[in-house]
């Protein structure tokens, strides 16, 4: 399923880019992309291991304009922290994860290869230890990122099932997990309580007046600490005033006010 989605996005995205470059003169990102390609070519003879990652990093540059040149690991850490602090579920970084997992696999394979070589020197073993330490560190971050998402999905399972918008932000397997979780929860409530209530009260999604809804929803008004990565366009605050953040500005604001800035990678949560 995931592969299908990815394939679709890739072809669709590529088509759009072709249309854009055909109708308008090449914009700056395009030129920068060309520059990136040249740099990757130079890298190949220096080190073949780095090259695939470099090309993939170039791919990301096209989508995230403000984070150009940011190494994938820093991107992962940023998205991990954003996810940890945001009250709502943020869009999954499937491409980034795929490239990092791929890199981990290639790195582990290389380690295995050197390990199985009986002629490897003391120094080789020493390097392996460092490489493996790094692999473990990154695996930890990937796991923590996915677990944070799962935690939110468990919490908001019923809300996710009924909300199409949020479903576009999660991966296919996360969607499956959410609907399974929602089904189990529904079943549990039905068996333990709801079935013995009168028909009028035996549903979870009715909206009685003066009462908060029974389906848990993300509280987007919760405050978050934001750190501006660049000069940001003004955002409207709940009291009606507007806030324009300069680069490196740090502020405590409600999540809903800066949600779009986070999606555009213009701010990070800290």
């Amino acid at each position: 399923m995931a592969d299908w989605d990815e394939e679709y996005n890739r072809t669709f995205g590529a088509g759009q880019a072709a249309v854009a470059s055909g109708s308008a003169p090449p914009a700056n990102p395009f030129l920068e992309r060309i520059r990136d390609v040249a740099r990757d070519d130079d890298d190949i003879d220096i080190d073949e291991l780095m090259a695939p990652a470099g090309i993939q990093a170039g791919l990301f540059d096209r989508t995230g304009s403000s984070t150009q040149g940011e190494p994938p690991i820093q991107q992962l850490i940023r998205h991990w922290m954003n996810e940890r602090h945001a009250p709502d579920i943020l869009p999954i970084q499937e491409q980034l994860l795929a490239s990092i997992l791929d890199h981990i696999r290639r790195q582990s394979d290389a380690v295995q290869l050197i390990r199985s070589d009986p002629g490897a020197s003391q120094e080789e073993h020493f390097r392996i230890v460092l490489v493996q330490t790094e692999i473990e560190r990154i695996k930890f971050i990937v796991r923590s990122y996915l677990r944070t998402r799962l935690f939110k999905i468990e919490k908001y399972a019923r809300y996710i099932v009924s909300n199409v918008d949020i479903q576009t932000r999660i991966s296919a397997s996360e969607r499956a997990y959410a609907s399974k979780q929602a089904k189990i929860l529904d079943n549990h409530f039905w068996v333990t309580v709801l079935q013995s209530l009168p028909e009028a009260q035996s549903h979870l999604d009715d909206t009685p007046i003066f009462m908060p809804p029974m389906v848990t929803e993300p509280d987007k008004s919760r405050a978050v600490f934001v750190h501006a990565l660049k000069q940001c366009p003004p955002v409207i605050l709940p009291d009606g005033s507007s806030l324009e953040m300069a680069k490196d500005h740090i502020s405590l604001v409600p999540f809903s006010a800066v949600e779009n800035l986070i999606l555009r990678d213009e701010v990070e949560l800290v």
Binding site: P71, I73, Q107, S221, S251, L252
Partner: protein
């Protein structure tokens, strides 16, 4: 459960230290190592006694095995921090320090105190600095309302420290705002 209870409300200091240890420090290696490709980039070659820049986690790992000396970052010395402390106690705003100075200085002073000159005195200055800044951030609470609070130059560890209290306070302001609005 998918996320342990202790990690649900906020990030823990150990996680911040993990992020901070991705930053680069200078080391004087005691062993030689060829240039190696890591996932976060390529580092090396290490050739003693030439200085080399590697991530903090790698430096700490080598230091633990007594295979390098860590060079203290330029801001981690008495003069610089004493100057910041004077500014901190005389001026109303937070003085500018590296965003992750608390994590990095702690990691370095814990693992490599023999490489850092005046490490005992440094610890004292860092503690004073921390207390002066803490007092300021508590004062900042007076300016809190339901929509925004600017906190220029606040550092990662300090943000984490005030996070639960500030977020809940702001939540209460938001609730109060919601209940008063219909009457207007």
């Amino acid at each position: 459960m998918s996320l342990p209870q202790s990690l649900r409300t906020s990030v823990i200091p150990e996680e911040l230290e993990m992020i901070a240890s991705q930053e680069l420090v200078e080391v004087i290696p005691l062993i030689a190592m060829e240039k190696t490709v890591f996932i976060s980039g390529e580092f090396g070659p290490l050739r003693p006694p030439m200085k080399s820049k590697i991530p903090l986690w790698m430096a700490l790992n080598l230091k633990l095995k007594k295979k390098c000396h860590i060079v203290a970052p330029e801001w981690l010395n008495i003069d610089y921090l004493q100057d910041r402390l004077t500014r901190e106690t005389t001026l109303p705003e937070f003085s500018d320090l590296p965003f992750r100075f608390a994590e990095i200085s702690r990691l370095l002073l814990d693992a490599a105190s023999d490489d850092i000159p005046n490490s005992d005195k440094l610890r004292l200055v860092l503690k004073d600095l921390r207390e002066a800044r803490q007092a300021k951030s508590r004062e900042g609470l007076q300016q809190l309302d339901h929509s925004e609070l600017s906190l220029p130059n606040l550092c990662s560890m300090e943000i984490n420290e005030i996070r639960p209290f500030f977020i809940r306070s702001m939540g209460i302001f938001t609730q109060l705002q919601r209940t008063t609005q219909p009457q207007e």
